[in-house]
């Protein structure tokens, strides 16, 4: 369905996307995970043909985005990060307009608008202006506008930013249903739990590069240290950290001078917890709190970059 090969993009001397490559099969739900400013939006903008790429190639159903942009745009539905709607117009008017932009006409557009409103659960608000909607409802119409022409590939750029948990759940369920119906989905987010819930395969992107790519199971297996024991301590010292690092099954310790936090990557954390805590205490550190994080995309990102996804 989608093939991205050696994609590069620079603004002046600053490279924002560096050799990004991945493929997505038809019907797959692919998550592009990364912190803000990692290059996710630039990558999907190039996939959509919105900004030209400096190097590489993007193929959608074997058609080059560069050579056949209009053909590709007809196959793709884009849900932008912003609420890209006309606030003073009704939900239905907005959907009809975007349908027309995708080439739908007259009764076809009207019928499709009804279906989309039904699908996003806002049929009873069809005639209300967007500006009267809650943030979550706006997001749902924002998704609906991209569904008007029944795209083969739906690209969603952080579609749940700034909304309440209930609306987020509604949107996640909507995306799940779309994927179950056979729609191919690219979902970008810096919320690890959303990507974990929705996506079969994940690409983790940081500083313009794909640093990990595969199914969630494959990625979690890559975690050399398994889980993470997070310690909040007082009297942190290099000697104490070195002593913990020497313990069996401890693969890596991440910490910064600014915080009193230690991230200890370790296999079998429940077995090793007592020894790690006692070593820390023995070395003069005072334990304030302990937390065990199971292997997930967040810990993988932490291990690969030394930073949290939401830093």
């Amino acid at each position: 369905m989608l093939e991205v090969k050696d994609l590069k993009k620079s603004y002046g001397k600053k490279a924002v996307v560096k050799n990004v490559s991945f493929t997505i099969e038809k019907g797959e739900s692919f998550g592009l995970l990364g912190p803000n400013g990692a290059g996710k939006s630039t990558t999907i903008s190039m996939i959509c043909g919105l900004i030209p790429y400096d190097h590489g190639e993007v193929l959608v159903s074997n058609h080059s985005v560069k050579k056949s942009p209009m053909l590709i745009k007809q196959k793709i539905g884009v849900v932008p990060q912003e609420i890209a709607l006309y606030p003073t117009m009704s939900a239905k008017d907005n959907l009809l307009f975007w349908g027309k932009m995708y080439g739908l006409t007259g009764s076809v557009a009207k019928k499709r608008a009804e279906e989309v409103l039904e699908f996003v659960g806002l049929k009873d608000r069809a005639k209300d202006r967007i500006e009267t909607f809650s943030g979550g409802m706006k997001r749902r119409i924002n998704i609906g506008a991209a569904l008007m022409h029944e795209p083969e590939l739906l690209i969603m750029d952080e579609p749940t930013v700034g909304i309440d948990p209930q609306s987020r759940n509604h949107i996640l369920e909507t995306v799940k249903r779309l994927n179950e119906k056979g729609m191919t989905i690219i979902y970008t987010s810096h919320y690890m739990e959303e990507v974990e819930y929705l996506c079969n395969r994940v690409g983790i992107i940081d500083d313009g590069e794909v640093i990990a790519l595969g199914s969630q199971a494959e990625l979690c297996n890559r975690l050399a240290g398994g889980s993470v024991i997070q310690l909040i301590v007082e009297n942190k010292s290099d000697e104490a950290i070195d002593a913990i690092k020497q313990l069996e099954n401890v693969s890596q310790i991440l910490h910064t001078d600014e915080t009193n936090q230690l991230e200890v990557f370790v296999k079998n954390p429940h077995d090793r917890l007592g020894e790690i805590v006692s070593t820390a205490v023995h070395q003069g550190m005072k334990i304030v709190s302990v937390d065990i994080k199971e292997p997930n995309l967040e810990t993988l990102f932490l291990q690969l970059t030394g930073r949290s996804l939401r830093d």
Partner: protein, 385 residues
């Protein structure tokens, strides 16, 4: 093309859906036209007060004064020279005409008689009064020449013949009267409701166009532009759609305002075809200006500030708020560098001088030249990414 039409119709629906649009597009210009136009309006009561000072005191000077009074387009009263100057200084009168002594002698000798017309700089009908004096003088010259020739050949008393001829000329209602009617219309229309109506229509259409062209900036800010560019709509279709919407919005506003001023204020706009061409060129120029401003700024707020500043200042320069006759010569020259001046020039040609398409070619050409410059700069600065 279907998508361009969809964009245009959607933008039309968007603007006419807002109640405040009606106030800005129609309510405000009509109100401004009524207020500013009304100040200059007044039918016969608004006739200028002109004093005539007769230093000649001959039959011919009496005939000249009678001729001026007969025109009925100004209030004529008689005073001596000192009083006339005093009243003029106190701005109690619009101006005074001084007939110098020796009028009859000079006319008889075929020389140019001394007549001085002093008026306030703000009196825009001065040229018309001068024209009337010249026409009246012409009648007197015809009379005196004819009477001299007649008395030489027949031996009749020249004075009697002259009086007879002049009284017949004075009572004649021939081509000269027709010219007078045209001139009096000019005074009324140029100073009053037509000029203000045309001016404020142009100004408020410019403000509307500024807001309309701001939708491109707004679309960029809200992400709508991003989404538009992700649809299979070409840049050409998108631009065409927006330009079409601006043009239609502008025409609806212009057309309705012209109709309101026609029926509410009795403004005569003149030749229909020429008006269509002139209004279209004003609209294109205004759209170009809106895109030009939109291309220079980044947000709709910046556009509103800079755009309104440009519109208000150029309207002042171009003669929208007040007649250009009241400003110094240098300002009259500067006025030629703003589009409003040429728009008003075109309307004056059609509404006042009875012009047709051929008569507005210069204003239309200059407006289109402005359009070309504005559009080239504005369009090249629109970023599609």
């Amino acid at each position: 093309m279907r998508r361009a039409i969809a964009v245009a119709l959607f933008e039309l629906k968007r603007i006419f859906q807002k109640p405040q649009s009606y106030l800005l597009m129609f309510g405000m210009p009509v109100l401004f036209t009524f207020l500013f136009g009304g100040l200059f309006t007044g039918g016969s009561e608004a006739r200028p007060n002109i004093i005539v000072v007769d230093n000649d005191h001959t039959n011919l000077s009496d005939a000249l004064i009678g001729e001026l009074k007969n025109q009925n387009i100004m209030k004529v009263s008689m005073e001596n020279s000192a009083q006339a100057m005093e009243l003029f200084k106190d701005q109690k009168v619009t101006g005074y005409i001084r007939i110098e002594a020796g009028l009859e002698e000079k006319l008889m000798a075929n020389e140019t008689p001394g007549i001085t017309f002093v008026h306030s700089p703000s009196f825009t009908g001065a040229s018309m009064i001068e024209e009337l004096i010249n026409e009246s003088m012409l009648k007197l010259m015809v009379g005196t020449t004819a009477s001299s020739t007649y008395s030489e050949r027949t031996g009749n008393d020249r004075q009697v013949v002259q009086e007879d001829i002049i009284s017949k000329l004075a009572s004649s209602e021939s081509a000269i009267e027709t010219v007078d009617v045209t001139k009096s219309k000019e005074l009324e229309s140029m100073d009053n409701i037509t000029a203000r109506s045309a001016g404020f229509t142009i100004m408020f259409v410019m403000i509307t166009m500024l807001l309309s062209t701001g939708v491109i900036l707004e679309a960029r800010q809200t992400g709508v532009w991003y989404r538009l560019m992700s649809t299979p709509t070409s840049r050409m279709e998108l631009l065409l759609g927006y330009l079409l919407s601006f043009f239609l919005i502008g025409w609806i506003q212009f057309g309705i305002l012209m109709l309101i001023s026609r029926f509410a204020f009795g403004v005569y706009w003149g030749d229909l075809l020429a008006n269509i061409i002139l209004v279209s060129s004003i609209l294109l120029c205004t759209i170009g200006l809106g895109l030009f401003v939109a291309g220079l700024v980044k947000t709709t707020d910046q556009q509103a500030v800079f755009g309104n500043l440009i519109i208000v200042s150029t309207c002042m320069l171009g003669g929208v708020y007040w007649p250009l006759e009241v400003v110094p010569d240098i300002m009259k020259q500067i006025a030629k560098f703003v589009p409003q001046y040429w728009g008003l020039e075109g309307f004056a040609e059609l509404a006042v001088r009875g012009g047709t398409l051929i008569d507005v070619i210069v204003p239309v050409g200059i407006l289109l030249a402005f359009t070309a410059v504005f559009l080239v700069v504005g369009m090249t600065r629109i970023r599609f990414e």
